[in-house]
Amino acid sequence: MSTLPSAIVNQDEQYLVDNARRRKQLSIWFYFLCVAIALISVVILVVLMVSIWSQGQSRLTTDLLTRAHSELEIERSGMWPAILGSLFVCGTCALVALPLGVGTAVFLEEFKPTQKVLRWIHGFVQLNIANLAGVPSIVYGLLGLTVFVYMFNVFGQIRVNESAGMEIMGYKHFYQVLTLEPGHVVFAPQTDPTVRQITFDEPFQAVDPDGNPIEISIWTPGTPKPTDPEIRRRTVRSGAIGGTITERNWYYFRLPFDKSFLSGGLTLALVILPIIIIAAQESLRGVPSSLREASMGLGATTWQTVRDVSLPAALPGIMTGSILAMGRAIGEAAPILVVMGAAVAKSSGPQHLMDDAVTMPVLIFNWAGRQQDEFKELSAAAIIVLLVILLLLNSTAIYIRQKVQKAQS
């Protein structure tokens, strides 16, 4: 026999009334607790913004935007190389991650296999992507360090003035040698890349700093020294020693990549790849299947359907997701720090593919960790610049989303 609930059996009216009141009271308290806790996140955001603004607003000068980091003139340090560096690194990252990510998403969403084994593999790849999204970014940094910077040490290590790795294109080696005119140097082309130093005692062909070929003659000590500056510029003392110098074009390419912006960009691409894939997949999933079926019914192949129907319909979502992923890439510091190092002394943007670079988050990290108050304030100012850039990016994403929603409704 089933027993009745105690509330019905035990009809103690006073108890029932009290209990109901207590429960209602508790519910109201809980509601206010919810409101209070939800407000905490707003408070956190406000405190964050206000404290950083008040710390950094005095340093928001044109110096900050146009000059480079300087140890000597702390007051006038700036973040222009870092802005350029972030641009290059994130550009590389976008060029690699976007096609790869969208391609993977299209493959996983639109070419779903039917055989059992392939379906199992499909599920495995899917789970793998979800797991990759959870790998800490610093582990990607170490992957970049091993694979791009050192390339498992297969091509040897790059050391200043010792070895340059395996150079492939975009370089010219010269021997740099002083002429008799003080401070004037000429460059003789290097023929044997293993000889790092050469002694001149015979006339040779060379180029001057402007790139014009000139004939260099030799002056032996003891004989009368030429006095005409034009001739002095074309004369080298016998026994002068020339060291190597390399002229690099923008497409200079070598293996391993060393601590270059290319390594940084490729590593960042690995970090945001899972984010882009997941966003693009969700966006493709949102395209109604009736559209695809109509296209198939008209005789289009799967790829034609994807190209002309699914992708255009999913494009706004993919773009929004990609922009948000790029926002993540711009603010990401840990993998860049591991791959490109923590140095911030660079005073210009990257000059060639293998050049190193500073990025904004690394500069902020470096400044924030210093003792001097000036650097702390500069760091806050740099954070404001970074947040403004992120805000612009995110508003673009929201703008696209809203424009599309309007067009679809």
Partner: protein, 329 residues
């Protein structure tokens, strides 16, 4: 015998065949089929690349940390049980001890504090968003959380040393050292909060209305409905959100590198410095240690530990979400 014209209707009549049929432009499909296959293969290669990344990570971690464990200065048991980690402090290899426990203890101190902040706050905010908040409140609370989620971690690290650490010192009369586990933990908690909140909220929104209506029909108060009906119904999603947040907190780098200090300590005291695993990796990179030394390889040994913990957590989270997802269709 002349073939009948395909276009049986004279011009001007109502129906006409498509132009391709009228002009008998039948293209060979061979080229089309070939290019289609080419495209599918290249798309498949993209998908394979994602698997290669995982393979690459695992291969890199195994081969490079093998370089660490091969060295005479380290043993596996010493690595797991020693209570000192002095890879950076001692320049001489003989004096360096490599015991992962202090780094682990630092990581878990920071993570624990972060979870104490992120889990309750995130869950209650999620309950509020999914059960109580009006559309207008949602429309500004959600973007607020999205902005917090989008703040770069290095900014939160700066916030920790600019605001959180000094206020902790002020409140406690200087009991906290300048760099301490608590301030880093709070900042990491702020970082995880939006993640816990949005994942739990998604799970709770997936609970069908009928369950709530049933609860209200039986006389439940809003509190009882949300805590005793909706939360248990969404439990798999909430637990997976917790696990994902936990793994995010363990792998968080920039906040701890800035705010948690650089001394590996083996204590439970949250007011002291606490170098975490990620914090050590950053310090090691900053010290620009030579490629190939034991100290350099110790990076990978730490990374293996970090990877195993986060990978396990994420995997559990994913499996729980997939396996135990209640479906209400």
């Amino acid at each position: 015998m002349p073939t009948a014209p395909l276009n049986q209707y004279a011009e001007g009549e109502l129906m006409s065949l498509p132009k391709a049929l009228q002009n008998r432009e039948f293209r060979s499909t061979h080229a089309g089929a070939f290019s289609e296959r080419l495209i599918v293969i290249s798309l498949a290669l993209c998908a394979v690349a994602t698997v290669l990344i995982t393979v690459g990570i695992i291969y890199m971690l195994i081969t490079e940390s093998a370089g660490f464990f091969r060295s005479d200065a380290v043993t596996m048991s010493g690595f797991l049980t020693d209570t000192e980690w002095t890879a950076l402090q001692s320049k001489e290899l003989e004096q360096a001890t490599f015991g992962i426990l202090p780094l682990l203890s630092g990581t878990f101190r920071v993570t624990l504090i972060a979870m104490l902040i992120a889990l309750p706050l995130g869950l209650v905010t999620a309950i509020y968003l999914s059960e109580f908040a009006s559309a207008r409140i949602r429309s500004w609370l959600k973007p607020t959380l999205e902005i917090i989620a989008g703040v770069p971690t290095v900014v939160l690290g700066y916030f920790a040393i600019l605001v959180i650490s000094p206020s902790l010192q002020m409140v406690s009369d200087g009991a906290f050292s300048t760099f301490n586990a608590t301030s880093a933990g709070i900042a990491v908690g702020i970082l995880c909060l939006p993640m816990v909140c949005s994942l739990s909220e998604d799970a709770m929104r997936a609970v069908p209305r009928s369950l709530r209506e049933g609860a209200y029909g039986l006389g439940c108060t809003p509190f009882e409905t949300s805590v005793k009906v909706v939360v248990p119904a969404a439990l798999s999603g909430i637990i997976s959100a917790f696990l994902l947040a936990f793994s995010r907190a363990v792998g968080e780098t920039m906040v701890v590198a800035l705010a948690a200090g650089t001394l590996p300590t083996m204590t439970l005291d949250p007011t002291q410095q606490a170098q975490t695993m990620t914090g050590f990796i950053v310090e090691m990179i900053k010290s620009e240690s030579e490629y190939g030394t034991v100290q350099y390889y110790s990076l990978y040994a730490v990374a293996v530990t970090l990877f195993l913990i986060t990978f396990g957590m994420t995997l559990c989270g994913q499996i729980i979400r997939r396996r135990f997802q209640e479906s209400y269709q």
